[in-house]
Amino acid sequence: MLHPEPHPLEVAVLTRRFRLPNSASIQTYLAHDGYQAFRKALEMSPDGIIEEVKKSNLRGRGGAGFPTGLKWSFVPRQSPKPKYIVANADEGEPGTCKDRLLMQYDPHALIEGMLIAARAVGARAGYIYVRGEYRYLIEILDGAIEQARERGFLGRNILGSGMDFDLYTHSGAGSYECGEESALLESLEGKRGVPRLRPPFPATAGAFGCPTVLNNVETFCAVPPIVLRGGAAFAALGTPRNGGTRLFAISGHVRRPGVYELPMGFNLLRMINEVAGGVREGRKLKAVIPGGSSCPVLRAEECDLAMDFDSVARAGSMLGSGGVIVMDQTTCMVRVAARILRFYAQESCGFCVPCREGTAWLAKILARFHGGEGRAEDIGLIADIAHNILGRTFCPLGDAAAMPAAAFVEKFREEFEAHLGGKACPFEEVAAHV
């Protein structure tokens, strides 16, 4: 899955061990700074660790971009209840396949990041919630956890410090919604993945009703280099308020699709044209979804853009999970919109009405449209339904469906109009002739 060599523009912080022989083994990890950050963290105060993470400007890599240090600081110091560390390895946002590589090639970095979080908040147990489809990664992680336990990095009285911490993998069984933090916690407790009302947030009432730090895999993997080299050094790699590097998964119509580690704020057009080798032979860029399927689509002319949370938000989209989906001129945007909405309708947990009904209606109207049976008034109806979902659902899945739906009709209205009047999809023709 890896290209033999990293791209020269890549900045390898989280991926720097990926191409070493037996990169997943504890021997390789220990020979390349492994568990040094945790040893350092044992010498630091819990508040000192959280301060360092705050200084790094690390923001959640799952999609929301919430400042990680701040999130950790919400966990109460004193608690009569046990505290937990949970890694969200339920990678499921369409266009996203980066956590897979982190767990496959560098599982100990995830373990070490979780250990440091445990030290910072005083947790004694942790879970890595892995999507059920990633069974081979659960096996890799179980092996790595076993190695770490044998070497005294997990278990009782770790390295003679008096700290106890146990870590376990936990398999999902097929559900996009379980990537949402509160639905994930429900699933971890053996229930349907229906989201919880917040507040209270997981920092105070998370796993089993106890204070919980819940972060994405990539977020935890960024913690050891932050602690080892200092938060300021990590922050300096990125842009203001957007520290460090990010693993961008570039997929779709490019010559060299792949997962690349680039500094936060890296230009999107350069990412496509230089890093991923440009749009495939003889075709022009049409549109990009910059951060996974829930992020509003950008037209080609909107793509001269710095890829950090704030810049992409100013451009009217989201950096999300860093899944960059590239579409060339032959792509039918009605077809893409229909497929994306079918996904959200399928994955809606059905608990709240605007999401359950709204996603199903959008999926139905868009499928009808692509099938050549769209009506002129449907164009307005799609936007209307989308705006009636936005901000009215229990969890972000409703917004994740409504935002792209609204963006597709707003930005590619002419393509929707070209499907009217019972005409065949105009792009089937284009694809056949390029």
Binding site: A173, F208, I340, F343
Partner: protein, 166 residues
């Protein structure tokens, strides 16, 4: 109902990972690990899990119906899951799925007559950069062309026949 030593040891480790008094937490992975061996979440499985976790059968049915990987009827020996979500769609995933239907003579959720293959159109499996992608049971196959698909089916047929001879 007893399972193989391998599954029992997995279940034992799983239960040990639950906080005290919270063994229901094992439910979702437990159903999946048992399904791996039994082939489906059958009524017998529901009853057995209910007994072990002290959760009512109704609650187990409620959970089992939520997760897309949990099945009520066995799939084929080789369960082929083809992704047609956005990145795979752009690279021919939908056409690959149609090709697979024709090749195997079954539709979505169908099982071939000999029980060897079953087919499912799935949502994103996290292989977007190596599209179009599919999984055979838990194994990933990347950048699958229709020709590569036909070769894969042939290989699976041969390995199944070889196992039967042994």
């Amino acid at each position: 109902m007893r399972f193989s030593a391998q599954v029992e040891s997995k279940l034992e480790r799983l239960l040990a990972s639950c906080p005290p008094g919270r063994k229901r937490a094992a439910l979702v992975p437990m159903l999946l690990f048992i399904q791996d061996e039994v082939g489906a979440v059958t009524p017998e499985v529901v009853e057995e899990v209910s007994r072990r976790l002290e959760v009512t059968p109704a609650e187990i049915e409620e959970v089992a119906s939520y997760y897309s990987m949990l099945r009520r009827r066995p799939a084929g020996r080789y369960h082929i899951q083809i992704c047609t979500n956005i990145s795979c769609l752009l690279m021919g995933g939908a056409e690959l799925f149609e090709h697979a239907c024709r090749k195997l003579g079954i539709g979505n959720h169908g099982v071939s007559e000999d029980g060897l293959f079953s087919l499912e159109e799935v949502e994103c499996i996290g292989a977007c950069c190596w599209a179009p992608a599919l999984q055979v049971n838990y194994d990933f196959h990347h950048a699958v062309t229709p020709e590569a698909f036909d070769r894969l089916i042939e290989q699976l047929r041969q390995s199944s026949a070889a196992e039967r001879r042994e």
